[in-house]
């Protein structure tokens, strides 16, 4: 806590940037990352408040996925820190970060292809309950009725109820994305990172997903969404950060972003706002 506290104070003092936010959950502080001399991220500062849905948008190659990867420990930043709920995430391995309550929904579905839909959802649920390792070779998987009930509920939520016993590899791409979402949701993370949750979905599926994410919001889950689809962004986001060329060029409410000239410039010809 104290490290985080110090970092927070330093940052606040130096930059005079949204000085003290009491309910801040995720704090990205001056993160740099370059690949072979190419600056993927430079001086990125970002705060996510408790309970909000924070969207990160930006043109292709702006560094959105890199930022997410830094958050979950996949990529080590060259400089800077990511602090979550008082714990520094930088230097932690992916499973530790997840155990702290940060779950990620992948852009390209990363599900357990050989397992069934139900099993896919139960595995993260067990992880939440039992921690990162528990030697339980004699605890029957099929005896986990509580978790199964919960998993079934979540699966129903994402609309895969009638595919619950299918092998994940036989799902369509869209269904795999729903499954991804379910795997994130069942962990009840304090912070859910969604990497383009609706990419490649048909319009009415997208709407269903939006509804679902809204419902979760009511439960008070904090979310960070990377999204291309502005329809999704403006339907869900409380606040928006715009990333371009590895830098945050604007931050604010959806209304502010909509009217920000810099954003329009960055997106010119790329996306319809």
């Amino acid at each position: 806590m104290s490290v985080a506290e110090t970092i927070r104070d330093d940052v606040a003092g130096e930059r005079g940037f949204q000085s003290d936010i009491p309910d801040r959950v995720l704090h990205i502080d001056d993160v740099h990352k370059s690949f072979a001399g190419l600056h993927a991220l430079s001086n990125v500062d970002l705060d996510v408040r408790q309970g909000e849905t924070h969207a990160i948008i930006g043109p292709n190659g702006a560094g959105k996925s890199t930022l997410l990867n830094v958050c979950v420990g996949r990529i080590e930043p060259d400089r800077g820190a990511v602090v979550f709920d008082g714990d520094a995430l930088t230097g932690k391995s992916p499973h530790e970060i997840n155990q702290l309550g940060v779950a990620r929904v992948f852009q390209t579905p990363e599900v357990f292809l050989d397992l069934s839909v139900l099993e896919n959802v139960m595995v993260p649920a067990l992880s939440r309950r039992d921690g990162h390792f528990k030697l339980n070779p004699f605890t029957a998987f099929s005896g986990e009725t509580e978790i199964r009930d919960e998993a079934e509920a979540v699966i129903a939520d994402v609309g895969l109820k009638n595919r619950i016993h299918m092998t994940a590899s036989s799902l369509s791409r869209g269904d795999k994305r729903r499954l991804e979402l379910a795997m994130g949701l069942i962990q009840h993370p304090k912070l859910l990172l969604l990497d383009e949750p609706t990419a490649g979905m048909a319009r009415h599926d997208t709407n269903a997903t939006i509804d679902l994410l809204r419902k979760i919001k009511e439960r008070g889950m904090t979310k960070v969404i990377i999204e291309h689809d502005m329809h999704v962004v403006f339907s869900l986001a409380d606040r928006i950060s715009v990333l371009a060329g590895g830098r945050i060029i604007a931050q604010g409410s959806p209304e502010e972003i909509k009217n920000n000239p810099k954003v329009k410039e960055a997106y010119l010809g790329e996306e319809q706002v």
Binding site: F112, L126, G131, S142, G174, A202
Partner: protein
């Protein structure tokens, strides 16, 4: 745990037990019903079932499992030499030592994955083999193999050449010549030895079944499916892998121990890479990831090694004596290519044919047969690729 086994699981266990225990009758027609081969079926069955816990569930291909088999064998013989001819201490000691050995090797090897992991395990096993054959001869008795001996007459005789058997001596158990392993007086050679191994095989099968159906087993399957994802799900995969490695190492230690129990000699070649390769082949041949497959694979390979290798031309002539002379000669000529000293050729062809036509091993064959019977039609082709064949829904 027990309550959550499904009815088909119980059925499988009961059928498996019944089949194993009746092998001395059912294998009679194919000439395999004699104690040594039956023991080998059971022992290598245990070895393969254990190997499958690592390879079948997690997908980590160890090429050094024979090291644990060897360590288990040596530990058991040393138990016979130093403690008692009773097999229980030998069993416990073998499993424990193999487990510790597996923990050491697994802890290091599991820092890497894929083929790098395979080569690390292979390297450890080959080092064990080479040293056991030469420099470690004081412990292993090298080429000749570690054997049980009569009680030594003086402390000058090295322990390799004369035993002490502290417990048996303390209990005043009389010995004539070189004693035989026993379970509280019951001889562990011949059929009692087989039944001892068979019971342990059933127990091991049951444990493997529990593991496979447990949370732990599910995590192992998830590792095989997508280890990376599992990390992002909050699971620390390495301890799971190490646990699986150690468990399968203990299975191997148990199998090694049983080899020494049914035949008290331990040789270094049990650790050679070919022996590690053998268990890999058994598992894949039978069907990796299935419960029964590895046991079947072990049986097939041991049968080929013991029986197919013994069919010489004389026996072939006997078998085909119903054919007219010239045809008989031709047929015998043809088959002698594949049996007797040509048994390796049969083995090689079997590997190729099974993996080409039945990618899931023998068990895959059974599944197809069942499907064929169920549908009454030709079985549908099995989707090999794991990519999504279905287009976007909607």
């Amino acid at each position: 745990m027990l309550g959550t086994f499904s009815r088909s699981d119980w059925l499988l266990l009961v059928i498996f037990s019944a089949v194993v225990l009746t092998l001395p009758w059912t294998l009679e027609p194919i000439g395999a019903a004699y104690p040594d081969l039956l023991q080998k079926f059971a022992i290598y069955g245990i070895f393969a079932v254990g190997f499958n816990i690592l390879f079948g569930l997690t997908g980590y291909l160890s090429f050094g499992h024979a090291a644990f088999l060897g360590v288990g064998s040596y530990a058991a013989v040393w138990s016979f030499k130093l403690l008692t001819m009773n097999v229980l201490p030998a069993l416990a000691l073998s499993i424990a030592i193999a487990g510790v050995f597996a923990l050491l090797i697994g802890y290091i090897s599991l820092r890497r994955a894929g083929i790098y992991f395979s080569i690390l395990t292979l390297a450890f096993a080959q080092m064990s083999y080479n040293l056991a054959y030469s420099v470690l001869t004081p412990i292993t008795n090298g080429e000749t193999g570690l054997q049980v001996r009569a009680i030594r007459k003086s402390a000058e005789v090295s322990l390799r050449d004369g035993d002490v058997r502290i417990i048996d001596q303390a209990l005043g158990i009389p010995e004539v010549g070189v004693p035989i392993t026993n379970l509280f007086g019951m001889k562990m050679s011949g059929y009692p030895g087989f039944y001892f191994c068979a019971v342990l095989l059933i127990v091991c099968f049951f444990i493997a079944m529990c593991i496979s159906r447990s949370n732990f087993g599910m995590m192992l399957k998830a590792i095989k499916s997508n280890q990376n994802r599992l990390n992002y799900t909050g699971i620390h995969t390495r301890p799971y892998l190490i646990a699986a490695f150690v468990i399968s190492g203990m299975y191997a230690g148990l199998a090694g121990s049983l080899l020494s129990i049914t035949d008290p000699i331990a040789g270094a070649e049990r650790m050679q890479w070919t022996a590690s390769g053998e268990v890999v082949l058994m598992t894949i041949l039978g069907g990796a990831g299935t419960l029964v497959g590895p046991v079947l694979g072990a049986g097939l390979i041991k049968y080929a090694e013991q029986k197919v290798s013994s069919w010489n031309e004389g026996i072939l002539h006997g078998a085909f004596s119903f054919l007219p002379e010239p045809v008989q000669d031709f047929v015998v000529e043809f088959f002698s290519f594949f049996v007797g000293e040509g048994w390796h050729l049969t083995l090689g062809l079997m590997f190729m044919i099974i993996v080409i036509f039945l990618p899931g091993g023998v068990m895959e064959g059974f599944r197809r047969l069942r499907r064929a019977f169920a549908n009454g039609a030709s079985p549908p082709p099995r989707p090999v690729a794991t990519t999504t064949p279905i287009a976007e829904r909607d």
